[in-house]
Amino acid sequence: MTTTLDPIELPEIDFDHAPSREGNREIQFREALREAMSEEMRRDKRVFLMGEEVAEYNGAYKVSQGMLDEFGAERIIDTPISENGFAGLGAAAAMYGLRPIIEFMSWSFSLVAADQILNNVPKMLYMSGGQWGCPIVFRGNDGAGGQLGSTHSWCVEGLYSNVPGVKIVIPSNPYDAKGLLKTAIRDDDPVFFLESERMLGDKAHVPEEEYYIPFGKARLVREGDACTLVSFGRPVHFCVQAAGRLAEEGIEVDVLDMRTIRPLDIDSVIESVKKTNRIVVVDQCWPFASVASEVITQVIERAFDWLDHQPLRVNTEDVPTPYAKNLEAAYQPNPDRIVAAVKKAVEA
C-alpha cells in the first residue's frame, strides 16, 4: 500500500473483455474521454477532476461538459491559472490516497509545473523508499496543428518519456481513448495522458459497456509485409493515409499504433520487423533524442540482423513550431513524408 488511506475494493479489471470496435454508437473523442472519467467517478468517490475551466465553463475544449452538474463542485474543481500549484496539490492528494485527474488545458502549460510533475510525482515512490506513490492522472492536449505557434504546440512525450517513474499514454482514436483513460485512472502509478485538440471532434464507435485497455499493447491497425510503420497519437492517422496510398502502388505495410510510450510494446515492433525487415517510425516530436530515436535504438539492440535497410524516422522538423499554415504543415509529419520514407526503405 503506497498511500495513506487504505485502498478500497473495486471490481477487478478484465482486460480480456474487449468489445467490438465495430458498431454505430458514434461519439466524439472528447465524449469518450468524458465517459471514461464519469464511469470511474461514479464507481469511486476518491476520483476528482481538477483544472482550468473544467467546471463552470464546462471544459475549455468541452471534454468535461456536464460533469459539474452530475458530480458537483466538490469533485469537479475549477482552478486559477496556477499549473505548478494545482499539479502539486494533486500530487499530495494522490499520496494521501485520493485519485486526482488533473487537466492541463494544454500540455504546453505543463512546463510551468515541471518541478511538480517531473521532480516530485515520478520520484516520490523512490525517494520515500517505497512509502508513498502518486496514483494520479495528468491529461490534456498535446501537439501542434492548430496554428498556435511555438509556445502552445508542445509535444511533451519526447521530453517527458526520458524520466523514469511515469506511464505515458497517447491514444489515436475514441475507442482507445476511453479504454486507456479508464485504465489510467485505475492505475496505482502516475500516468501522463496525452490527447490532441485536433482529434477531440473525431467520431467513432465507442461501446456503451465498460472496457479497459491494457498499457503496453500496441494495436496492429493495418497489415502488410513490406515495411513496419510505427507511430502513436495523431500521426497514426497520417500513417494510415500513407499506407493507403502505398497500397495503391502495391506496397503493403504494417501500421502499429503504440498507444502507450511507457510501457512501450517493443515486442510487437520486433515481431513485425522480423516479418518486414524494414522500419519507419513516425513521431510528432523533434528528432533529437525523441521517442522515435528510442524505438529505433531498441530495434537495433534487439533485431539488428533482421534489418534489410537502416531504420528511418519521420519527425517534426527540428525548428520551433511556426505559425503560418503552410510552414506548420511542412513542419509536421505528413503522409507525403511518410510515403517517401517507406519508399526509400523499400526500394533501396
Binding site: G88, G97, Y126
Partner: protein, 366 residues
C-alpha cells in the same frame, strides 16, 4: 512523538501552563535529541560518512518541537530539506534517520533519499523535499485531501490541519505564491510555517524579500491570517501556535506563521558563513531554546534537577551514539535488489529498456 498532554489552564494563564511536566520534559528530551543528533551528523559528515548536501537544524529545535507538539499525531506534516529536526520531533527513530544519511538499507528511505528526503509514513511525515518551495503545493494538497476525506468521502469526522514548513528563502519562490493563493481560495487547512532563520543560504532576508519585517502582510494578500512567533522559546511557540492551529483546524482554513529563529550552523555543511558575524551567532546562542527550557523546568516548574538534566543528556548521547553505530554497521542497499525497485508501484513489462524494475523490499519503517 511529542504531542502535548494538558490539564485545563487556570484563567489568565498561558496555554503552556496547562501542559504537564511530563510533556515539557519530553519536549526538552526531543530538543536535546535533535541538538545531539545534529552534532553527530556534522561529525559523520566531516568524516565523509554522509554525502551530498546536509543541512543542520541546530538552533531551530523549538520550532519543530513546539509546532508539532501542538497538533495531533495523524495530522500531515511536510517540510523542506532541513528536515532532520522535523523527522525526530515527529517520532522517527534516530537510527532510521542516521542510517538514511549514511545511505544504508535500514534508513527511512532505504538509502534512496538522503538527508534532504526524510519520509516517515507511520509518523505522517510526507518528506523532506529538496527543491526550495516544492513542498508548499504539497502542503495545500494534503490539506485538500484531508478536507475531501471528511466532506466528500465522509469516512471520518475528524478535522485535520496540515503543517507545511518552509524557510524564509522559499518566500520568494513562485510555487509558494500559487500554493498560498490556492489555500486561501479553497480555504484549505494548511499552516505555512516559515522558519525564518534570517538567511536563504548566504542572502539575508532583507536582500531577498520585500517587507522582511512584516511577512504576515504577504499572507494577508492571499486572505490568509498570519502570526509572528519567537521561535527561540518552545513555550512561546506553543502559547501562540496552539490556539492558532486549533482555529485553523476548527474553521478549516489556512494560516501563516513567521516563526523567527536562527540556525547556529551554516546553510549546509559547505558554508564558510562570511555573510554574518560571530557576534550575531553568539547573540542568538545566548537565547538558546534548550537552555531556556532547562531554566524554566529547573527554576519555575521545579520539575527537573541538575542531576536529572545531566542524566537526560547522557541518555540522549548514548542513544545517538547507538544510532551512529547502527548506521555504520548496517548494510548498504544491494544494487540488484534496490537500484531497480520502488520505481513503479506495479513494475510492468517494457516500462524501460533496461527491463529491470522490480518490487521493492519492505521499507524498514512499515
Amino acid at each position: 512523538m511529542s504531542q502535548a498532554t494538558t490539564s485545563e489552564p487556570a484563567a489568565g494563564k498561558r496555554p503552556s501552563d496547562g501542559l504537564s511536566d511530563e510533556t515539557l520534559l519530553k519536549w526538552l528530551y526531543d530538543m536535546q535529541l535533535i541538538r545531539e543528533f545534529e552534532t553527530r551528523t556534522m561529525q559523520a559528515y566531516q568524516q565523509a560518512k554522509i554525502g551530498g548536501f546536509c543541512h543542520i537544524y541546530s538552533g531551530q529545535e523549538a520550532c519543530a518541537v513546539g509546532t508539532i507538539g501542538s497538533v495531533e499525531h495523524d495530522d500531515p506534516v511536510v517540510t523542506a530539506y532541513r528536515d532532520h529536526g522535523h523527522a525526530l520531533a515527529r517520532g522517527m527513530d534516530p537510527k532510521a534517520c542516521m542510517a538514511e544519511m549514511f545511505g544504508k538499507i535500514t534508513g527511512c528511505a532505504k538509502g534512496k533519499g538522503g538527508s534532504m528526503h526524510m519520509f516517515d509514513k507511520p509518523n505522517h511525515l510526507y518528506g523532506g523535499h529538496g527543491i526550495v518551495g516544492a513542498q508548499t503545493p504539497l502542503g495545500a494538497g494534503l490539506a485538500f485531501a484531508t478536507k475531501y476525506e471528511r466532506e466528500v468521502l465522509k469516512t471520518t469526522d475528524k478535522k485535520r490541519v496540515c503543517l507545511c514548513y518552509l524557510g524564509d528563502g522559499a518566500l520568494n519562490q513562485g510555487a509558494f505564491h500559487e500554493a498560498q493563493n490556492l489555500a486561501g481560495l479553497f480555504s484549505l487547512p494548511v499552516i505555512y510555517i516559515v522558519e525564518n532563520n534570517g538567511y536563504s543560504m548566504g542572502t539575508s532576508i532583507a536582500r531577498g524579500t520585500t517587507m522582511p519585517d512584516q511577512l504576515t502582510l504577504k499572507a494577508k494578500g492571499y486572505g490568509i491570517e498570519g502570526l509572528e512567533i519567537d521561535g527561540m522559546s518552545v513555550l512561546d511557540v506553543y502559547d501562540k501556535f496552539k490556539p492558532f492551529a486549533d482555529a485553523c483546524r476548527d474553521e478549516q482554513r489556512p494560516g501563516f506563521v513567521d516563526l523567527k529563529t536562527y540556525r547556529y550552523q551554516g546553510h549546509s555543511m559547505s558554508d564558510p558563513q562570511k555573510y554574518r558575524t560571530k557576534d550575531e551567532v553568539e547573540e542568538f546562542k545566548n537565547r538558546d531554546s534548550i537552555a531556556n527550557l532547562v531554566d524554566h523546568l529547573m527554576n519555575k516548574r521545579e520539575c527537573l534537577s541538575e542531576d536529572e538534566w545531566t542524566e537526560m543528556q547522557k541518555e540522549i548521547r548514548e542513544r545517538v551514539k547507538e544510532a551512529v553505530k547502527f548506521a555504520e554497521e548496517s548494510d548498504a542497499p544491494g544494487v540488484e535488489e534496490e537500484l531497480y525497485s520502488d520505481v513503479m508501484v506495479n513494475p510492468s513489462k517494457n516500462m524501460s529498456p533496461i527491463g529491470k524494475y522490480i518490487e521493492g523490499a519492505k521499507n524498514p519503517l512499515l
